[in-house]
Each structure stands twice: as C-alpha cells, then as structure tokens.
Amino acid sequence: MVMEISCEEVWREVSNYLDDEITPELRARMLEHLKGCKHCTAVLEGTRNVVQLVGDAKAFLLPAGFSDRLYQKLDRKLSEDGRL
C-alpha cells in the first residue's frame, strides 16, 4: 500500500520523473496515482511527447546556408589576420 499523492504533487514532479531524478518510493506513488488519474496521465505523457519531439534532430533546423556563411566568415578573419 503506497501513500496517496495529489495531482499538484504529481505536476511538480513530472519533469523529475521523466529525468529519473526521483526516489523509487515517489515513483511508486506517482505510478499508483497515474493509474486512476486521466488528467495527470495526459500531463505526463504529453510532456514526455514534447521532450521526445524537440529532442529529434528534425525539430529545429539550422538556417539554410548557415555553415557556408560561418566558414566564409572564419576564412575572412584568418585572411585579414594574414594567416592564409
């Protein structure tokens, strides 16, 4: 029998839960709560989904031509300093 936990407590720990930064005891309490709470499950799974999406390399792309402009600038700086 695990001690009950409120929705507010679950929300406060959602991020730590995803990062595995909570104790096994708290994790067990949260899991027990999530079994019967549709809202908290939606918060947790929605947050997990966002973290997965933004961590995908396709989520945020570099501006087109970024690398070309960067190395042109680097080459220019080296030329100005008389190193090329």
Binding site: R12, H39, F66
Partner: protein, 236 residues
C-alpha cells in the same frame, strides 16, 4: 591582436568566460576531439571545421534561445565560434568541447542582448496559470493522443514547436533548449548557464509544462474527430 591559437598542449590554463573562470579538473574530451584540437593548435586551421561542425546546431540553438531573432542568433553563433578559435589554447578539456563552446555562445548571446538593450521578458502563453503557491497548473487536455515523430516532417508542426519555444521566457527557454533540444545533462546545463542544479530543474519543469500546454491542442486527439476547427489549427 593575433587570432591564432597558441601552440599549447592540453591541459591549458582555465578559460575566463563572462567574468567567470571555468575550472576544469579532469579531461572529458574524446580522443578524436583532442587530436583535432592539437592539429588546430599546431596551425592546421582546417581541422577547426571538423571540430566545430558537429557543434554548429547546438551553438545556434543556444544563441537563438536567448536572442530569438534568427539573424542576431546567427551573428552571435559566428562570433562565439570565432572566439572559440582564438581561445582554443585555453580549453583545458575537463568538459566536452561542445559544452565549452555552447557556454561561450551563451555568453556571447547574453552580451549581445545587453548591448542592444533588448532584454524584454516575453510573456508566455500561460504565464498566469499558477495556483496560490505559485506552481504552474497544466491545462486539462485529458483526451491525450501522441504526436508521432514522423509528424516532424511537416512544416506546420515544426512551426508550432518554434512558436511554442518562442512563447517561453528567456530563462526557461535557455534551460529547455540545452537540456531537451541539445541533450545536455542537468549538470552540464547548470554549468553552461552558471546556475545551480535545482534552478535548472525548476525552470525545466515550468518550460516542459508550458511547451506541453502550447502543443496540447495537437495532442488531445480532437483533431481526428472530424471537427473542422480542429483540423484548421492542428494540421499535423
């Protein structure tokens, strides 16, 4: 002033960034990175491209997290990379090269922000969604459905992610970008930003919940019910 790195073997003196001295004690640089660094320090400047190329995305995202404007972010990213080249001999190797570089980029972006007096905190979409203890209260989208990663192929979802990211305040956005976009550890994020681990966790919680709320209309599954209004705003 010379732009060339000094020919110094690792480990070299600590780096002062933004008034702080980064004291490193143990090498975390992988052998390939170390070799590239040594080549650059020996004057083979073309090796610097190989060293920096895997970090380009992280550097740009770090500066954009602070500056938002794409052109300013690119400018700061370029300056940071040039600065890293000039100061490469000062890199001691106790953090990963990418962490060191992102920290320089973060400081560069912050300096640019201060210089241009643009440090306006942007209101988030739901900045007022707090309970009486000041905790963020997530929206109730109980009928949740996952957005599959395949949906990232669509411009609409990528734009929705960018808008959601833009809606965060700078201090939440920079933590979120380092931790969740760039996959820095909590410790690395704390080190780059010069804040404590507990501050990273607090800001990360808020950022993640707000990102979830901003994107939740696309997660609640209602878009699949055939209602036209949902179809219009949830094209992925």
């Amino acid at each position: 002033m010379s732009a060339a790195p000094r020919r110094t073997a690792l480990p070299a003196p600590s780096l002062r960034v933004g008034g702080e001295i980064l004291a490193f004690t143990k090498s975390q640089v992988d052998p390939l990175e170390s070799e590239l660094i040594q080549r650059v320090l020996r004057g083979q400047h073309e090796a610097f491209r190989e060293l920096v190329r895997p970090c380009e995305h992280a550097v740009f995202m770090a500066t954009q997290a602070i500056l938002k404007n794409e052109a300013d972010a690119e400018d700061a990213a370029q300056e940071a990379i040039l600065k890293a080249f000039t100061n490469l001999a000062k890199f001691r190797g106790a953090s990963k090269f990418s962490t060191w570089l992102v920290r320089i980029a973060t400081n560069e972006a912050l300096m640019k922000l201060r210089k241009e007096r643009r440090h306006k905190l942007h209101d988030s979409l739901d900045d007022g969604r707090k309970d009486d203890k000041g905790n963020y209260v997530p929206r109730d989208f109980a009928d949740w459905r996952e957005i599959p990663s395949e949906a990232l192929q669509t411009e609409e979802l990528r734009q929705a992610l960018s808008r959601a990211l833009t809606s965060l305040t700078p201090k939440h956005r920079e933590v979120f970008v380092l931790r969740d976009v760039q996959h820095f550890t909590i410790e690395e994020t704390a080190m780059v930003l010069g804040i404590g681990k507990s501050a990273v966790k607090t800001r990360l919680l808020r950022a993640r919940l707000q990102m979830r709320d901003a994107l939740a209309p696309g997660m609640d599954g209602s878009w699949s019910t055939g209602r036209r209004d949902y179809e219009q705003v949830r094209p992925w």
